[in-house]
């Protein structure tokens, strides 16, 4: 599963431009969904109906990642850009980026030596940053890119320390990788789902107006599990109350975030299954963030939702970090939930 995560994370896929991720996923699972209904909906969601005896369950993860869009090109050949999804400008200075067509660039800002005293110490603002692609005129730049072109972080996949993984777009390719694995397991008979199971690889989560709206409207699930990564702050110097959760302490079975208060029964049910199977799990200790579950929960007739996430440090930067234990714990939890009857 780690190899798959590596592969998927490197695919180019900012919100609204998920084609390459989707093609990679299709290729990955094509031999395992023979005879099953699968389709791409108008919003670009890739939906596979696996089936099974029981209530409708939608398992979803989003394919898109944060990125940059070229808004204009200056006479000096620099690209002015906006962010696709929420990116903290403090994580942008001097970072390397790459466009859909493979044009490399650096994010540049005024060097500190040339800042006025009042400018020093201020965090960079997006409007003061540019992408430099090595062009010295507008014309030269226009040969390499165009207004509306997408860029993402140019960052590789690294395993470091004791079980940590760094990459770009681990949010939410980890969910995609787990779903691919589950689809394979089901095909190989390792799991016999006790739900009428749909897998939805969704689009545009990072911008809020998410592909999950359309997907859940179409599927109309009774239950939904969103597999995600969750921004946490378990870094030295942050007090325990604000950490949210810790990397390596297992799957986060959220009780609530800023977008949804999760279905209490379903959450308790999942927690009990995780405990029974001795899967490391934790819950969030701080209410923050939100994801596709907020849409799925409220869409159509509504659904009983839960989010299972991997804790992630430095999310939405070139160095998204998760722990492999959490990745496997999240996978194991969804797997065991599928094997068990629905909650009473």
């Amino acid at each position: 599963m780690k190899e798959l995560l590596n592969k998927l994370s490197l695919e180019f896929g900012p919100s609204g431009c998920e084609d390459r991720v989707r093609e990679a996923i299709k290729e990955e699972i094509k031999d395992y969904i023979v005879g099953k209904e699968s389709f791409v909906d108008p919003l670009g969601n890739y939906i596979i109906h696996i089936g099974g005896n029981g209530p409708k369950l939608m398992i979803s993860a989003h394919m898109d990642e944060v990125g940059f869009m070229v808004k204009g090109i200056t006479d000096e050949g620099l690209l002015k850009f906006g962010t696709v999804g929420g990116i903290d400008p403090i994580c942008l200075g001097a970072k390397r980026v790459i466009s859909e067509s493979g044009v490399r660039g650096n994010i540049v800002m005024k060097p500190i030596h040339l800042l006025s005293p009042s400018e020093r110490g201020q965090a960079p603002k997006i409007k003061n940053l540019s992408i430099d692609i090595g062009a010295s005129t507008k014309k030269e730049a226009e040969e390499l890119t165009f207004v509306g072109d997408y860029f993402t972080f140019d960052s590789d996949y690294v395993e470091y320390g004791e079980g940590f993984i760094k990459g770009k777009a681990l949010d939410d390719r980890l969910g995609c990788a787990i779903m691919c694995q589950l689809i394979k397991d089901i095909y190989e008979g390792k799991i016999e789902p006790k739900y009428d199971t749909y897998f939805a690889f969704t689009t545009r989560e990072e911008i809020g107006y998410s592909g999950a709206y359309g997907a859940s409207m179409r599927i109309r699930p009774q239950y939904a599990i969103v597999i995600e990564s969750k921004a946490v702050a378990d870094i030295y110097g942050v007090d325990e109350d604000s950490e949210v959760a810790r990397l390596g302490d297992g799957v986060i079975i959220s009780f609530a975030d800023r977008g949804a208060i999760y279905d209490h029964t379903f959450v308790k049910h999942i927690k009990a299954i995780a405990d029974k199977n001795e899967i490391k799990n934790q819950t969030n200790r701080y209410i923050s963030g939100g994801n596709d579950s907020m849409h799925i929960q409220k869409n159509a007739e509504g659904a009983r939702v839960s989010t299972l996430s991997c804790a992630s440090r430095y999310i939405h930067s070139q160095s998204d970090v998760i722990h492999e234990d959490d990745l496997f714990a999240t996978y194991e939890t969804v797997k065991e939930v599928l094997k068990n009857d629905r909650p009473n």
Partner: protein, 342 residues
């Protein structure tokens, strides 16, 4: 250009945070082999590479590029595998969060500089202070304490990319772009044409402001010192004329510190030879080794030539390879003509 890329890649893959230049000893030695007559080191960390002219009693030309780079240093090892750090040389903390680094401990340890997630920010838009940043290594404190000790240097993770053909991006182009030009120039110099004996320095501790090269110039008493360093290349529109242009060649810095007459002579001579260059002004000091070299020993006439560099002191410093080549061409020409001193 192939040879330049080779030299540059070798220099960029040696880790030489300021004060720890000796990590790069082997790189310099192997690059210098076959080009120079003499290779020396000193107690402060400078390298002196000598190439003599065939001419008897040639004048002495010193050309300097500093070998050290900015970096960080471990000041504490904490639970969860986090390291507190201080800076080696001047860094802009606003580019550090989420940046990848290598800790040069007992073995190289990968790490990421921490960044506080949005939910803990209280509307402030300040750059982090150095003591608010940690390096996340992913190890337990116990394991990490075996690998890393207080005082170990930390460098940006080295990643070399080529952009739009001729632009190279790496964390260490300040001042290895110039050092590359120097070594390449030396390899191109024909001893029979050289009118100077060449004393090339790969100098230490420029980034700390100590300018260790001034220790060497003291004894050497060169007739001319040419200091080479990087200078700000324009990225955004520049109305203040603080920046030079990338891709337009080596740049002469005209300053109160540098020798006015010789700088002029060189520029005139290059024009007559059809060699291109640009120039910029540093009205007062230059904030380079030139400041210190010029006043070392009995005083040394000093010329400063720069290579344009974008994103200085960040993990993505960027230089145009043609500018490295241009600096090399200029230096070769200088070595062939001692009349520039008159």
């Amino acid at each position: 250009m192939k040879k330049i890329k080779e030299i540059l890649n070798a220099l960029l893959s040696s880790n030489t945070p300021t004060g720890f230049e000796f990590y790069g000893n082997d790189t310099i030695k192997s690059l210098a082999e076959g080009i120079f007559d003499e290779i020396k080191t000193d107690s402060v960390g400078n390298f002196l590479l000598v190439k003599k002219s065939s001419k008897q009693n040639a004048k002495k030309l010193l050309i300097d590029a500093h070998y050290d780079t900015v970096g960080l240093m471990v000041t504490g090892v904490f639970k969860g595998g986090f390291l507190s750090v201080t800076q080696l040389g001047g860094l802009d903390t606003s580019v550090l969060p989420s940046t990848e680094v290598t800790v040069l401990g007992k073995e190289n340890v990968y790490g990421i500089i921490t960044s506080t997630p949005p939910h803990l920010k209280k509307g402030e838009s300040k750059s982090p202070k150095m003591d608010e940043l940690y390096v996340d290594t992913g190890y337990s404190k116990e394991k990490l304490s075996e690998l890393v000790s207080i005082g170990d240097p930390i460098i940006y993770r080295n990643k070399v990319d080529y952009i739009n053909g001729d632009y190279v991006t790496s964390a260490y182009l300040d001042d290895k772009a110039c050092l590359c030009a120097l070594i390449y120039a030396a390899s191109q110099m024909d001893k029979d044409k050289m009118e100077f004996d060449l004393y090339l320095t790969a100098s230490a501790q420029e980034e700390t402001g100590k300018s260790a090269v001034a220790r060497l110039t003291f004894d050497l008493e060169p007739d001319l010192a040419v200091v080479t360093d990087v200078n700000f290349a324009r990225t955004e529109k520049d109305d203040s004329f603080d920046c030079i242009e990338a891709g337009k060649g080596a740049s002469f810095d005209i300053s109160a510190v540098t020798d006015r007459k010789i700088t002029k002579n060189i520029m005139k001579y290059l024009t007559s030879e059809g060699v291109g260059y640009q120039c910029s002004c540093e009205p007062s000091r230059t904030s380079t080794n030139a400041d210190y070299v010029s006043i070392s020993g009995n005083g040394i006439p000093t010329v400063l030539i720069s290579v344009p560099l974008k994103s200085m002191h960040t993990p993505s410093e960027t230089v145009n390879l043609n500018d490295i080549k241009s600096l090399s061409d200029v230096l070769v020409k200088i070595s062939y003509n001692d009349k520039i001193l008159n």
